[in-house]
Symmetry: C2
């Protein structure tokens, strides 16, 4: 037998901490250091300064933002927000909980789910308190986010089978009052709030590793600032809010083979797993690492939801009116990554995805042949679908009535939604195992003193790509960022 295995890939390795004893001088000293300024880091830092503790937030880019600033800025709130009420929707904590406990995924932490739902109105108020405005309007279309400054949308699977049977469907995606994407706006409000409160923001500061004292407690960080590695002391603790690891190809390949097939990682440069690796370097457990969101944005236009998503076998396998991520997850897991959206002349529209139209034919028989599908399968799928659609029903996959119409206006077109042929966006949903308080748990089951995490650097609220809703990342990351900020501010 061979005795010397090849060296392992070092990109995935945890970052070794620095020993306190090796530190000669300190660049600065704060009660709390927050590593990474996305929505989790901003929320944590605001709670720290509001609690009267000093905070330094270190951001590797030229300005705070992270993956949040690249996003549309939808936040998942419920339980009867001002906007929900104004728009005429009745929600309750119980109803929100009935949905979110499924939407957070099968490996969700029930305690995090409960806390998130019970405190949703208070969390909405937090965003208002930092100047984020929400318009009291509902945007009544199936979109990824409102292009206008309207607020409320169905951002997940609430109306889609089987979720529609688990709770009364109500919209809970709240986009701030901003035309187009609002993620950057949320971060700007956080920057302004922190400035007003006296929090210190240090941009272009890349944290290299944690500093550990002789008892294993995390007491600071080593960061590269203006070209120098400097040590910064944290009296109460360090909060890792560095994002996920979708930009670290080696980590994705090792931990999340499904996501490794996707070609469009969603995140900032910082989503390279650095915080997860730092946490692992001091013994932190990384969990749920195989999970993530995968999505190909085949709608809008809404007409596409009326089309049929079919496998290479010509079969449907999911109700097309699910959240786009759930449909995409099904393409990967149920159709092995290969699927087509079939639309007719009435339902076709220009989509953001820029999908390749791989066939256009006057009949389904011809389309089936053009797509190299086994004879008779797509033909059956269409005949059966159209038969029931005439009565507005989809007894096979339970697409909601409003999206069910016969597809009988030739020509018929096939857009290629396959993982290797179209845009598949992805981000990770695994990270450090934390208590709801943000305290990081070691692989030995003990709390790692002085270390907290939130946002995608942790395994947070939402843990499953097939159950996900827009707004659960910013919602969960900010909520548990705040929890971490409150905890660390109150720590000894």
């Amino acid at each position: 037998m061979a005795e010397n295995p090849a060296p392992r890939d070092h990109n995935v390795l945890p970052s070794e901490p620095r020993a306190l004893a090796s530190i000669d001088s300190w660049w600065g000293e704060f009660d709390v250091i927050v590593v990474g300024f996305g929505v989790a880091g901003g929320a944590a830092a605001i709670e720290v300064v509001r609690a009267g503790a000093s905070t330094l937030i270190l951001e590797r880019a030229t300005r705070g933002g992270g993956a949040t600033a690249l996003s549309e800025g939808t936040i998942y709130f419920g339980g009867g927000t001002r906007v929900q009420k104004a728009a005429g929707f009745e929600d309750s904590i119980e109803n929100m909980h009935a949905h979110v406990k499924g939407a957070a995924g099968p490996t969700a932490d029930p305690e995090k789910v409960r806390l998130y739902c019970e405190n949703s109105l208070e969390h909405f108020a937090f965003f208002e308190s930092i100047g984020v405005e929400f318009k009291d309007t509902y945007y009544d279309e199936k979109v990824i986010f409102p292009p206008t400054d309207d607020c409320l949308i169905y951002s997940g699977n609430e109306q889609a089978y089987p979720f529609s049977e688990e709770a009364v469907p109500v919209p809970r995606g709240h986009k701030p009052k901003k035309e187009g994407s609002a993620g950057g706006y949320i971060i700007e409000q956080m920057i302004e709030t922190l400035g007003a409160l006296g929090g210190t923001i240090q941009n272009e500061s890349r944290v290299q590793t944690l500093i550990e004292d002789e008892t294993g407690r995390v007491v600071g960080v080593v960061a590269q600032i203006e070209g120098n590695d400097v040590a910064i002391r944290a009296r109460r603790g360090v909060v890792l809010t560095t994002g996920g690891f979708i930009m670290n190809r080696a980590m994705v390949e090792q931990f999340a083979p499904d996501l490794a097939r996707c070609n469009y990682p969603i995140g900032s440069d910082g989503c390279d797993g650095s915080g997860i690796r730092m946490g692992m370097g001091v013994g932190g457990a990384a969990i749920n690492m195989n999970e993530g969101l995968m999505t190909t944005p085949f709608f809008p236009p809404v007409g596409h939801i009326k089309g049929l998503v079919v496998s290479q076998q010509g079969q449907r396998f999911i109700n097309e009116d699910c959240y786009h991520g759930r449909v995409t997850d099904a393409i990967q897991k149920k159709a092995d990554g290969t699927a087509f959206l079939i639309v007719d002349d009435e339902t076709y529209g220009q989509s953001l995805g820029g999908y390749q139209m791989v066939a256009v034919e006057e009949t389904i028989e011809e389309l089936e042949r053009s797509l190299g599908m086994p004879q008779g399968q797509l033909v059956h799928t269409f005949a059966s679908y159209n038969h029931f659609a005439a009565a507005g029903v989809d007894p096979v996959f339970h697409k909601a009535e409003k999206y069910v119409t016969p597809l009988d206006h030739p020509p018929y077109a096939a857009l290629d939604l396959s993982v290797d042929k179209s845009i598949w966006a992805t981000f990770t949903l695994g990270g450090l195992n934390t208590q709801p308080t943000g305290e990081v748990l070691g692989v030995d089951g003990q709390i790692i003193r002085g270390l907290y995490a939130a946002g995608r650097a942790s395994a947070g609220l939402t843990r499953s790509g097939s159950h996900y809703a827009s707004g659960m990342s910013i919602g969960g990351s900010s909520f548990f960022g705040r929890m971490a900020g409150k905890s660390v501010a109150a720590a000894d």
Copy 2:
């Protein structure tokens, strides 16, 4: 916000190690301690004593065995074994590697796969050297294992699409020369070999935790022997071969939600994750924890492979001639856990699974109605299948020709294969992250000195239930058990 989260479930927590300084006296001292006597532990211990080092193997049951002794005893060998040649099959290391690199799953360790294939003939010789006999015969039926003392079977997906296109299909499952199950026989040969070589086997000895010195090196174990907790010193190292965690319900629910749905855990009482938790207690990383084998044994009889496995929507979703675990994995992931095997009067036979026959009807139309399937779907599936089957082909899912015959002999019966209605056997495929040498890697990426693992306590050769073959567990566990034994015997 709530400040005090509920306490976490303690059953899943890692086991805290004992400090060397706290040990007053030693029950004994050996070069190597092996924890758990299944095939991995036996293989490790044999290599240790063959290398001239003293070994103690601690087994919690009254006799060695573990999950291996409960199994049929198939071992996955290839590359041209004596049996393969005698039975007229040509295999090569390259051809074996071409199959196993896929069969080990997408998160496999390429180095472990390579070593396993390159050393397969030597590993076959190892089993012969401990007195395990293999008959030079091929058992030419699609079975889970030969009921006779015949040896060679197709034990995986070699002949099934798409694997059949990745490598030249040859059988590699080798069952020892023993009628019925042979797992116990393998262990008995190991017990005899160890007795002859002077290895010490201590049964009814439950290891409680590891002992760590002040530098973090593992230097022994605390075990319960005759009612007392005793400390036992390991000069060179401890090898954890304690099995997986399928008997630990809390761990399965936390880490592997798919497996948590299955009702028939495969393993011995010892497969409760104790070794994984001990390893985590000293900082070991547990990886691939979401994966495992799920299987419902719908064949034999071979006629059932000629039947159709369909979803509640009346659709097929996998070629029925795959390894039973792959079909079952597809039922879970592609059909959400609900599926029926439809057979006609010619293909039906009594099966081991004892499936509930939920409907018997003279026509497919009636069967479809009885099963509550949406109208016309099962009817189409049958009509299309039979149309092509008349020519011996399955262009939709590529079942091999020998299993494709028209199903047109009424009555038709539906056997319920659903996860909540039939036997679904399962075991875990996640565990401690090890080097091919068996050295356990900490979550910090460093080798944990003095600690080794193999078998299901580690993330070994085979890491995916949808790709698995019978024989890869015993094969991989024994091979990497041996690697660990050689490494630890040579350690300082």
